[in-house]
Structure formats: structure tokens, C-alpha cells
């Protein structure tokens, strides 16, 4: 399980998971694509780009990464099917994102924005495995 949708009165809250912080970043981008397109899309392209983030805080880097992913989904209709994150330090990381381009009509759920609201990256044990997770609130 890479993500779980949490009830939120007005908007959308999602908990994303990964075995490592790097995997949490990777899973979050792919999961966000699946939520917006409402399914796993079959991809035929192998295009990619690289993103770099540095700030005092891992959560800020995480939200800024999701902002970039969401912008590219909403504006360019990219579907992200794979990411590879490399943590360069506690406050800096680099992520390569693979995507395929679709059409506006393929999108089924509109997410307007990623918020910073109460976002924290934490770890917990799920089914005997230590997992990192982050709860993110999206404006819809």
C-alpha cells in the first residue's frame, strides 16, 4: 500500500507511505498521478526530468516536490509512473521523474493545490515493517 485517502470535510487528505524517505517521495508522485487519473495508466513513453530541492526542512522539500508534480499533471497532463529519489543530505535531495503525456480528458479528479497544512514526515510500524509516512492536505 503506497497511499491511503483520509476523510477531510472540505478537501482531500492523503497519507503516503514508503520504506525509506526516498521511497516516500517516489511513491507519493506516482500515487498522486493515480489519484488524479483515477487509475494506473498504461504508459508508452520514457520521458523524464530531474528536480532538486534544498530547504531547512524535509517537509518543505516534500511539499515543494509535490507542488512540482501537481503543476505538471494539471498544466502538461503528465502521468508520473516512476521516480528515483537521492537524498544528498538531511535538507537536500534530487529526484528523477519518468512520465508519459496524456490528454486533459483523461483526468478524472481535479486537485487544485498541495497545501503545507500540518504536514509532517514520521515513521511507524505497519504490519511489522518500519514505514515512513506523510499526511498531505490537497485543495480541491
Amino acid at each position: 500500500m503506497n497511499y491511503k485517502i483520509i476523510d477531510h470535510t472540505a478537501d482531500l487528505a492523503v497519507e503516503f507511505y514508503g520504506k525509506t524517505i526516498a521511497e516516500l517521495f517516489e511513491n507519493s508522485a506516482v500515487s498522486l498521478s493515480e489519484i488524479i487519473y483515477e487509475k494506473k495508466m498504461s504508459v508508452s513513453e520514457d520521458k523524464n526530468f530531474k528536480l532538486n530541492f534544498t530547504s531547512d526542512n524535509i517537509e518543505v522539500n516534500y511539499i515543494d516536490f509535490l507542488r512540482e508534480i501537481l503543476y505538471n499533471i494539471n498544466q502538461n497532463f503528465y502521468y508520473f509512473y516512476k521516480c528515483k529519489a537521492t537524498l544528498l543530505s538531511e535538507t537536500s535531495l534530487s529526484i528523477k521523474c519518468w512520465y508519459s503525456k496524456f490528454k486533459k480528458d483523461d483526468i478524472n479528479n481535479e486537485i487544485k493545490a498541495v497545501t503545507y497544512h500540518e504536514c509532517e514526515i514520521k515513521s511507524k510500524v505497519i504490519y511489522g515493517h518500519k514505514m515512513y509516512y506523510a499526511k498531505v492536505t490537497f485543495d480541491i
Binding site: 477531510h8 503545507y116 497544512h117
Partner: protein, 483 residues
């Protein structure tokens, strides 16, 4: 009574207060009747209100209207006013859909003339008005100079392109334009997103509705606004589309990155802010004004498309239709206004997030036509029940910085709605009530099911009990186009 360790004091039958404690700058106040309290306590919206009360420069109270519900950063239904000299401005206190708002229009038609034509009318709306997720193409794609004109001139730009009448401006909050707009503050991303979305409804809770006036509360004011029972009305709800979302996102990002340099602590990153008078604070305000103007241009075009759809569908002349804008109000905005605080006039930056302005009689911001009576206030309900037109009051000026609620307020999450209702079920229930609905996205209809909202009549009752606005008429939906 307590909420999350905070005592709650009853001030009157419709006003409740959480006293100042800890690092709170001011107390928090919310408007609700006693029967609404259990619902309000169900989510964490009051904790968000308490967070707002911590912000520097906030005056009197952090306030929430009776449609309060859980949002992010600010609660939805939140009102907060900050001293422009030592207070802040917060993109999260305005929201992503800058100047999301609603307009209310009258026609010369009566219920009898259209009652058998509702499906045809809603189909006409669908053909004329681009709606749904990422909708585009109402007018030709703008170029950058044209988009600059939209950002600077708002509704006036749309009127000059043939969408509406000059006199419409008198019936729009701020006359459809915030003069402080500065296009130099707008990112290329925001510009790109805005090029082809003027005149589009979008998705979520946005709608285009045809309905009738089914109850009159104040005959004199109704007559003054040329409104009568059984009269057909049209409402439009939309905002600044991707352009506004991007403006908010761009500045929130900058302010979050600047948080550590501020001399105070913010309880939630989504409340990231800048001093109103700082360079960043001013840049955001000017950019927000661009987005507000974009939204007014958008609703001006949408309204005209709806009018054209009615003329074409009903094969009637413009004179026979008698389409006229009554008022257009903002839901998500920060405005510079003068209000009395402790008996002294103060220049304030008033944030309304999921709340509307409800100015009473005599304010200079209101057009001459309405100055004597106060500003019309539109409170749309869900698509299965009523909506209300009210008028602002002197009490609102004294109590709530001239503010009022913006709608019914959600009570059920979208994900729970999708688990609970089906598309057909929602459509059938509306049909049973005689309401024709067309939704571009099936998900939107289910997420916006009437059962996901508070009873709008309870919300309006609380507002009236508190004296923030006074009911004029109630409307009933007949046909709705959802995004």
C-alpha cells in the same frame, strides 16, 4: 462548554467566544445557533480558528461564520482583520481560488413560462458554457498583453469585449476591479495557466443555476431590487481558475521559505504570511488583486454566456428576457477597509476565506444604487435546497468587519460522499425534487450531493439572529450545470 481544552463562552444566542490564552493575540469568536454546535465540534475547524487568533496584528477577534468547517490553515468561513501598519497578509487566509464568488441575476421570466423547458435550458447552458475540470475555450486564447488587461481591469475588460453592460459594474463588489493589481508580480506559470480559462466554470462546487424566487421576506427591499415571487433567477459560482491557484501557490511557497526570518512563530505552515507593508507582502497583495480581477472578468463572461444561452434556447429577445445582474460578491479575498476598532477608525487588511462582505447602508464602497439600503449578500445552498439573498447591516459593520457567511458549509468529506452515494442515486433524488442537473464529471455530482452540506436555512437563521444580514428572498433551484 469546552473544545480541545479551550473554554467556550456564550456571548449571545448566536455568538460564542474562545477566550484568549497562551500565545493567542486575540480571542476567537464564532457565529452559530446552539443546535449547530455538535456539528461544528465534529471536525477540527475551531482549532484552526484558534491558530488564526495567534497571528500578529490581528484585531478584535479571529472570527468564523456559521458555515464554518475544517479547511487548511484558516477554517472555511473565517474572517480576520489585520492592522496594515504592523499586521500581516496571508495567502492561506485568502485561499487558492482567489475571488471565488457568486453572482445573482434577475430576469423578466416567470416560473410558468419555463417550467417545461428546464432540461432544454440546462442543455443550453452546457453548450454555451465550458465547464468541468481544466475547462477552456469560451473565448479565444488570450495573448500576454490581453491577459495583462484582464489582470488590470477585471470585469470592465470583459464588458469592453462585448460581455455585458457598463451598468453591470455598479452591481459588482469593488465595481469588478481592484486598482492595486500589478502584473509584474505574476509568474510565467500563472500567466500560462490563465491564457485559456476566462469564461470557464471549472469543477468542484462551481455551478450555473436557474431557479425561481419561492419566498419573499422583505417586500419593500424585494421591490427595490425588482424581485418578485415565482420570478426566474440565475446564479453563477466560479473563481480565478488555474491563474488564481498558481498565484496563491507561488507566494505561499515564498512565504514558507521566509518563515524562519520572521520575528514570530506561526502555528501552521499553511498560515505562512508576510508583514502587509513588507516588499513580499505588497507583492502578494498586488498579485492577489490581479487574480481577483481575473475572477471578475471570468464571472462577467460566464454570466453573459448564460444570458446568450437563455435567449437562444427560449427563442426570445434580450428585452423579453430582461436579464439583469443584481450583485456579485467575493468569497476568498483580502481587502483594505476602514473599520472601527475600540471606537477608533483603523485601516485594516480584512481576510475573508469562505466568507463574504456584508456592508450595511452608507458605505462608500457600495454603488449609489445600493448605498441607502446596504449591499446585497448572496448565500447559495446546496444544489437540492434553497439559496438566499440578504442585505448587509450596520450590526455587521460593528461586529464582524462587515462580513457574513458564504454558503451552507460542508459536513461530509468528498471521499465519504463517493463511498456513500452513487451518481444515479444523487441524480434521481434531485429529479424527484424537480431539479434537472447536468454534471460534466460524474464524481463532482456525487461529491456535491445535497447531503454533504449543512442545512443552509440553519446557517442563514444564525446569521440573521446575530444581525449580520437580513433576509430579502429565498430561491429554489430548477436546473443546475455542475463542472
Amino acid at each position: 462548554m469546552q473544545f480541545s481544552g479551550h473554554p467556550i463562552n456564550k456571548i449571545s444566542d448566536a455568538i460564542w467566544e474562545i477566550p484568549r490564552s497562551g500565545e493567542m493575540t486575540v480571542p476567537a469568536r464564532f457565529y452559530a445557533t446552539e443546535k449547530m454546535l455538535p456539528q461544528i465540534f465534529k471536525d477540527n475547524a475551531l482549532s484552526q480558528l484558534v491558530n488564526v487568533a495567534h497571528l500578529p496584528g490581528i484585531q478584535k477577534y479571529a472570527m468564523a461564520m456559521p458555515d464554518i468547517h475544517y479547511g487548511y490553515g484558516f477554517p472555511i468561513g473565517g474572517v480576520a482583520a489585520f492592522d496594515v501598519n504592523d499586521g500581516i497578509i496571508s495567502p492561506g487566509g485568502v485561499g487558492y481560488d482567489i475571488n471565488c464568488g457568486v453572482r445573482f441575476c434577475r430576469t423578466n421570466l416567470s416560473h410558468n413560462e419555463i417550467k417545461d423547458l428546464i432540461p432544454k435550458i440546462v442543455e443550453g447552458f452546457y453548450k454555451f458554457v465550458p465547464s468541468g475540470l481544466g475547462s477552456s475555450g469560451a473565448i479565444k486564447k488570450l495573448n500576454y498583453p490581453e491577459e495583462t488587461e484582464v489582470m488590470c481591469r477585471g470585469a470592465k475588460w470583459a464588458i469592453e469585449q462585448g460581455f455585458g453592460e457598463e451598468s453591470d459594474l455598479e452591481h459588482i463588489e469593488n465595481f469588478g476591479c481592484m486598482e492595486e493589481a500589478n502584473p509584474d508580480t505574476i509568474s510565467d506559470r500563472a500567466r500560462q495557466r490563465g491564457l485559456d480559462q476566462v469564461g470557464t466554470l471549472g469543477s468542484g462546487n462551481h455551478f450555473l443555476e436557474i431557479g425561481i424566487i419561492d419566498k419573499i421576506y422583505d417586500e419593500q427591499l424585494a421591490r427595490r431590487l425588482s424581485l418578485e415571487k415565482e420570478q426566474v433567477i440565475v446564479m453563477v459560482h466560479s473563481g480565478s481558475r488555474g491563474f488564481g491557484y498558481q498565484v496563491c501557490d507561488d507566494f505561499l511557497h515564498q512565504m514558507v521559505r521566509d518563515l524562519s526570518s520572521l520575528p514570530y512563530k506561526i502555528p501552521d505552515r499553511q498560515l505562512a504570511c508576510a508583514q502587509f507593508n513588507s516588499e513580499l507582502g505588497q507583492k502578494y497583495y498586488q498579485a492577489m488583486c490581479c487574480a481577483a480581477n481575473y475572477a471578475w472578468a471570468n464571472r462577467q463572461v460566464l454570466m453573459t454566456l448564460a444570458k446568450k444561452a437563455l435567449i437562444k434556447t427560449l427563442s426570445i429577445s434580450e428585452e423579453e428576457l430582461g436579464f439583469q445582474l443584481i450583485y456579485d460578491i467575493c468569497h476568498n479575498i483580502a481587502k483594505i477597509e476602514t473599520h472601527k476598532v475600540n471606537g477608533k477608525e483603523m485601516k485594516l487588511c480584512v481576510h475573508r476565506k469562505g466568507a463574504t462582505r456584508a456592508f450595511g447602508p452608507g458605505r462608500n464602497e457600495i454603488s449609489d444604487e445600493y448605498k441607502e439600503i446596504g449591499q446585497p449578500v448572496i448565500i447559495p445552498g446546496d444544489m437540492g435546497t434553497h439559496s438566499y439573498l440578504l442585505i448587509g447591516t450596520d450590526t455587521a459593520m460593528e461586529e464582524s468587519f462587515g462580513s457574513c457567511c458564504h454558503g451552507a458549509g460542508r459536513v461530509m468529506s468528498r471521499s465519504k460522499a463517493k463511498r456513500t452515494f452513487s451518481f444515479q442515486q444523487v441524480k434521481n433524488e434531485l429529479q424527484k425534487k424537480g431539479i434537472v442537473v447536468y454534471s460534466v464529471q460524474k464524481n463532482t455530482l456525487v461529491e456535491e450531493s445535497p447531503k454533504t452540506y449543512k442545512n443552509v436555512s440553519d446557517v442563514v437563521e444564525a446569521v440573521e439572529m446575530a444581525g449580520l444580514a437580513k433576509k430579502i428572498v429565498r430561491t429554489k433551484p430548477l436546473g443546475v450545470l455542475k463542472g
